[in-house]
């Protein structure tokens, strides 16, 4: 088997890419995909530690993360579509009604 720290480094880099995507991109869809990227990076860390510790609990957590991520994508995309219908935009900069 490959050393677990390699998997963790891949996980860390993927998470960083997700963070940069959320910070830098203005398209709501791409921001959403970057959030998925971060969720998957943490999933990789969970599976790695499940393998290291020989305990299946880490994989159970990943199962629940996948379930909740599926729901989150459905609701989030519905909201994005709704915003697009009313405001004709998918840019997060244009949705600023709560801005002080």
């Amino acid at each position: 088997m490959i050393a677990p720290s390699y998997f963790l480094i891949v996980s860390a880099l993927l998470f960083t890419l997700g963070v940069v995507g959320v910070l830098a991109r203005r398209n709501a869809l791409v921001v959403f995909m970057s959030i998925e990227l971060m969720l998957n990076a943490t999933n990789l860390a969970f599976v790695t530690f499940a393998r290291v510790l020989g305990s299946v609990e880490g994989q159970v957590v990943v199962f629940f993360v996948i379930v909740v991520a599926a729901v989150e994508v459905v609701v989030g995309l519905a909201i994005i579509v709704d915003i697009f219908r009313t405001r004709e935009t998918v840019s997060v900069d244009d949705v600023d009604l709560l801005r002080g």
Binding site: A3, Y6, A12, T16, L23, L29, Q59, F63, I66, D93
Partner: protein
């Protein structure tokens, strides 16, 4: 052999991640996300998590990416219209902060012992072992997850209605 598979999967995952963040068109971002998800499934197989790998391909690559693609096709951003950025230098600041963040994470991980754990028993990570845990110890969270899914379905139907009820 395992190392070759790992290197290919890891570089595909990272390249896909860059593609998600850097693509100019959302369709390319969605397809890059598909690449990331599939290479992560390969890595789960390397980590003896067969059930999670299959789940990853079915749920993420099969359902979530398709949903993303549908929405990307449905919505089209207005083209040829360059608005001034509300936050100047946001991109460079994001990349800089991301670099610092990545350095901190790698700095925390790097000293970890490179010991390879002993091979798990043969059934580890199979649908049987994960399912046994899900239906005994984690039965309550499992049932709650079904309620969460139901709430998601109802929310999508309500939000997706053409004319919201007043």
């Amino acid at each position: 052999m395992e190392l070759v598979v790992f290197i290919v999967a890891a570089s595909a995952a990272l390249a896909g991640g860059v593609g998600v963040v850097a693509s100019a068109q959302p369709v390319r971002s969605a397809l890059s996300l598909l690449l990331v998800l599939c290479s992560l499934a390969v890595m789960y197989l390397l980590l003896a998590a067969e059930f999670i790998a299959v789940l990853q391909v079915i749920v993420y690559a099969g359902a979530i990416v398709v949903l993303f693609l549908f929405v990307v096709m449905l919505l089209h951003p207005r083209r040829g219209e360059v608005r001034p950025e509300k936050l100047p230098r946001q991109r460079s600041a994001a990349v800089l902060l991301g670099g610092i963040f990545a350095l901190a994470l790698v700095y925390a991980i790097a000293p970890a012992r490179a010991t390879v754990p002993p091979a798990p028993p043969g059934a580890f990570g199979s649908a049987q072992s994960v399912g046994a845990a899900l239906f005994s110890t984690y039965l309550l969270p499992f049932e709650v997850a079904s309620v969460v899914l139901l709430v998601g379905i109802i929310a999508a139907v309500v939000l997706g209605r053409a004319r919201p009820v007043a």
